[in-house]
């Protein structure tokens, strides 16, 4: 093990002389990032929602990034955080699903297995101080059982009836906690999500007004085309902001 001057440790390789490249393999900060992802269970399955923006620091550089993808037959994966790491994860999962299909034996990887696999991947990368800088939302339905879970870049993982990542944790979770019920219809679930997305649009500076909703049920997955939400900026408090704004918010 070699320890560099800034205290970072490099992993030992078979040939100890050639580890000049080691340090640059660590992720230090994310570059192109996606904002929140929301997930909600409803009667027939699960809905995921996210905006389609990719920020480059404070610039909203990319406006058409699909951050929710279909995995295999039974699952959807949504990600916030570093987009290139998300693409890397999609490659890993692609390989996983491919090998699973090659067995050709009637068994298939369900959402629970994919969730756990991702947890292992994320946790192991974190232990190497080279994390995949994402918060992932994994949703799926298999044999009637709905599964909705999150894995973070540290390897923290949990499941719930409704989840969100990033700013959603602060802004959307209170709304979801108040309004979620067992047996929501598709339309009701969409309305709740749109409410959360609107709040995020108003208050999260890295979100844009272009969203995608994806649905997964026992029958399969659908990713709906992007659309935008109506916003209202004519609040009296917004006019003459320095006069009307009270407090630092």
């Amino acid at each position: 093990m070699v320890t560099a001057m800034d205290g970072s440790s490099m992993s030992s390789s078979a040939d100890g002389l050639v580890n000049l490249e080691m340090d640059s393999q660590r992720t230090l900060y994310p570059y192109v990032t996606g904002s929140s992802v929301l997930g909600i269970k409803y009667k027939d399955g699960i809905l995921l929602a996210s905006d389609t923006g990719g920020s480059y620091g404070s610039t909203l550089r990319f406006k058409g990034i699909e951050r929710i993808k279909v995995i295999g037959k039974h699952s959807l994966l949504g990600a916030s955080g570093e987009i290139s790491d998300f693409q890397e994860i999609l490659k890993y999962l692609d390989e996983l699903i491919l090998y699973d299909n090659m067995w050709d034996d009637g068994n298939s990887l369900g959402p629970k297995e994919v969730h756990n696999y991702l947890t292992r991947v994320m946790y192991n990368r974190r232990n190497k101080f080279d994390p995949l800088w994402n918060s992932l939302v994994l949703a799926g339905v298999k044999n009637g059982k709905k599964h909705l879970g999150v894995v973070t870049m540290l390897g923290v993982h949990y499941e719930d009836n409704h989840v969100s990542t990033g700013f959603g944790n602060h802004l959307a979770v209170p709304i979801l906690r108040k309004e979620w019920r067992e047996d929501l219809t598709f339309e009701e679930a969409v309305k709740i999500l749109e409410k959360c997305l609107t709040v995020l649009l108003y208050r999260d500076r890295s979100s844009i007004n272009k969203f995608q909703i994806a649905k997964i049920t026992e029958e399969g997955a659908t990713i709906y085309p992007p659309y935008s939400l109506k916003t209202f900026w004519e609040f009296a408090a917004f006019k003459e902001p320095s006069k009307n704004a009270q407090g630092s918010w």
Binding site: W103, D105, G106, N107, L109, G110, K112, E113, H115, N116, Y117, R120, N143
Partner: protein, 236 residues
């Protein structure tokens, strides 16, 4: 393959909800205990072996490892079909390398997974087959004949009924020797029932019940079997 035929009998039967394994415990002498022939691989999979027990132990360890690794990564039990393929591939390697010898043990793999109940037979050649019911080991032909007559109705059997039939089949292989719970080991796995070896007392009760109701094995079989009754201490 010969080693499998000389080991003492192992039998498996399957319904849509349960799988039962039963083995005959042969002791090399009156003084010794019998060798272990039934191994729990995971909560949902168990095996019965016939042949070189040492090889069986090693393969069981391999299977347990595979199951545990899968459970760790995917938090779901390993599908039985995938386990037997890995086992078969491992056995096949030994048939194609000149410096290796094949594993001298046949395995009856019983398990439950999402697709239902399974019973597989893995042989030393690397082949594997799925069965409704099967018997391996010495004098297994008698059991097989018995099973062939009855297997068509097994799908709907409950766990208890399967165990009863397994005991009958074991009785066939004993060819006249008295069937007691000391002589056999029975294990079961099923829906909501993790793999476990059935308690000796319960087996003895079922054997006694078999005799009392006079469910004599009226079927007359001429078991054309292997007359080899002797076995080296390696095999059981």
């Amino acid at each position: 393959m010969e080693a499998v035929k000389q080991g003492s009998a192992a039998i498996g039967l399957r319904s849509t909800s349960h799988v039962v394994l039963a083995t005959v415990n042969k002791t090399s002498s009156e003084l010794s205990s019998h060798q272990k022939k039934v191994f729990k691989i995971d909560d949902h999979i168990g095996v019965a072996i016939a042949g070189l027990t040492a090889d069986g132990r090693v393969l069981s360890r391999y299977m347990r490892n595979e199951c545990i690794n899968h459970s760790f990564v995917y938090e779901n039990p390993l599908p039985v079909g995938r386990l037997v393929v890995r086992l078969a591939d491992k056995a096949q390697v030994c048939t194609q390398r000149s410096w290796k010898r094949p594993y001298g043990v046949g395995l009856l793999v019983s398990g439950m997974d999402e697709l239902g109940a399974h019973l597989y037979y893995n042989c030393p050649s690397g082949n594997y087959f799925e069965y409704q019911a099967f018997a391996i080991g010495s004098r297994s032909q008698a059991a097989k004949t018995y099973l062939e007559r009855r297997f068509e109705s097994y799908d709907k059997y409950s766990g208890e009924e399967l165990i009863k039939d397994a005991l009958f089949a074991i009785k066939e292989t004993l060819q006249g020797e008295v069937l007691t719970s000391k002589v056999c080991t029975v294990a079961i796995v099923g829906v909501g029932e993790p793999f476990h070896i059935v308690d000796q007392k319960k087996i003895q009760e079922m054997i006694d019940a078999m005799e009392v109701t006079g469910e004599a094995v009226a079927e007359d079989e001429q078991g054309d079997d292997y007359s080899t009754r002797g076995a080296t201490s390696m095999e059981s």
